[in-house]
């Protein structure tokens, strides 16, 4: 399966260590296009395998936490969400619609879980293992040179219908706890929906100090990057 990319001819690029790529202007035909597609495909299969392996491990930890207490680590749930999110995007780029669609629905479960819209006890959460196993099977077939067959697509669609049924629940909108928070508006604008949710959860739980600490930590991370950048600039221009 080829990546969705241009067939235009002309440019060539070389990748140097450190993630630096230099591309030259078009100057005729390009003979490396198929090789590049093949390389992209190999990278995709390898990265997808890593993602699925991580999802299996993280789901196992999630189940352990789930049976050990009423709460699970939000970072763990977010990590599994991000794995499903990445797989969805990658599969979509390679035109693997069934894998992308199934990843998307697993992502829906995980998104609901991390945003507090789906309970830990929801039957949808029990479908995660099965979903990841199905993805792993499809990826293994793909790696073996097989394409996703009609039967497999049909089974995936049925499974997706199961997920949709399991996550269908009314969403209760709460009070916006952030409205009265004394924080820089630009900082709040840069938060993702998940980060906003975590902040609200902390505020609801009376852990405003923890929330503030988290935001301050994020800001410090950005500032640390800025400071390092400034140090490098000084070194570059002055020494």
């Amino acid at each position: 399966m080829a990546a969705r990319r241009s067939n235009k001819k002309g440019a060539k690029a070389s990748v140097a260590k450190g993630g630096v790529v230099e591309a030259e202007a078009p100057e005729g035909t390009r003979s490396t296009d198929d090789k590049a597609k093949s390389k992209d495909h190999r990278e995709f299969v390898s990265e997808a395998e890593e993602i699925l392996e991580r999802m299996f491990e993280d789901l196992s930890e999630l189940h352990e936490q789930r049976h050990g207490s009423d709460e699970v680590d939000p970072d763990l749930v977010n990590r599994i969400f991000r794995s499903g999110h990445s797989l969805k995007g990658l599969a979509g780029m390679f035109g693997l619609d069934v894998i992308s669609e199934l990843s998307h629905h697993l992502e829906d479960i995980l998104d609901g879980l991390r945003l507090g819209k789906i309970a830990l006890e929801s039957p949808a959460v029990s479908l995660l293992d099965d979903g990841v196993s199905r993805l792993a099977t499809m990826m293994a077939r793909l790696e073996g040179g097989e394409s996703t067959g009609g039967d497999e697509a049909e089974m995936a669609r049925n499974f997706i219908a199961q997920i949709e049924g399991a996550i269908a629940a009314p969403v209760v909108e709460g009070v916006d706890e952030l409205a009265g928070l004394d924080l820089d508006a630009s900082l709040l604008r840069a938060l993702t929906e998940y980060e906003e949710h975590r902040l609200k959860e902390n505020l609801r739980g009376g852990r405003s100090n923890a929330s503030a600490a988290r935001i301050v930590m994020d800001s410090m991370t950005a500032l640390a990057g800025q400071a390092e950048g400034l140090r490098e600039s000084v070194g570059r221009f002055c020494c």
Partner: protein, 128 residues
């Protein structure tokens, strides 16, 4: 030569973004960062003409990166393109509201990306 910084935690996605820009009409140097934090370290090293970033990344998310760049006098004029799997209006509105110049949804069409990038680079003189 134009310099472009690509920020995405997926190696495959970085590779796809890079190869999508191979056919730009002007010579281009592409630097890849695998996280928002790494992007912050790379920014001062080169005079970038464009930044392309994902949103969902493990340390500093793409929205925070956009906010940082657009609120920093030294980098504020660098055009910014968000390429995200997240197609909801919420993230698009947030990204564009923070100052991003364009928002593309994955899976993206390489032709669309090239067009957006070419348009944004058109107003910037090529560097040595």
């Amino acid at each position: 030569m134009h310099r472009i910084l690509i920020v995405d935690d997926s190696a495959t996605m970085r590779s796809l973004l890079t190869s999508s820009l191979e056919d730009l009409s002007s010579p281009t140097k592409i630097v890849e960062a695998e996280s928002g934090f790494e992007a912050l370290r790379f920014l001062p090293r080169e005079d970038f003409d464009l930044v392309i970033t994902d949103i969902n990344m493990p340390d500093i998310n793409g929205l925070e990166l956009v906010s940082f760049i657009k609120n920093n006098e030294k980098y504020a004029s660098i055009p910014l393109v968000i390429v995200s799997t997240e197609g909801s209006g919420r993230d698009r509105d947030k990204g564009l509201g923070l100052g991003a110049d364009a928002y593309l949804v994955k899976p993206f069409d390489p032709d669309d990306l090239r067009q957006v990038v070419s348009d944004l680079l058109a107003g910037r003189p090529a560097q040595e």
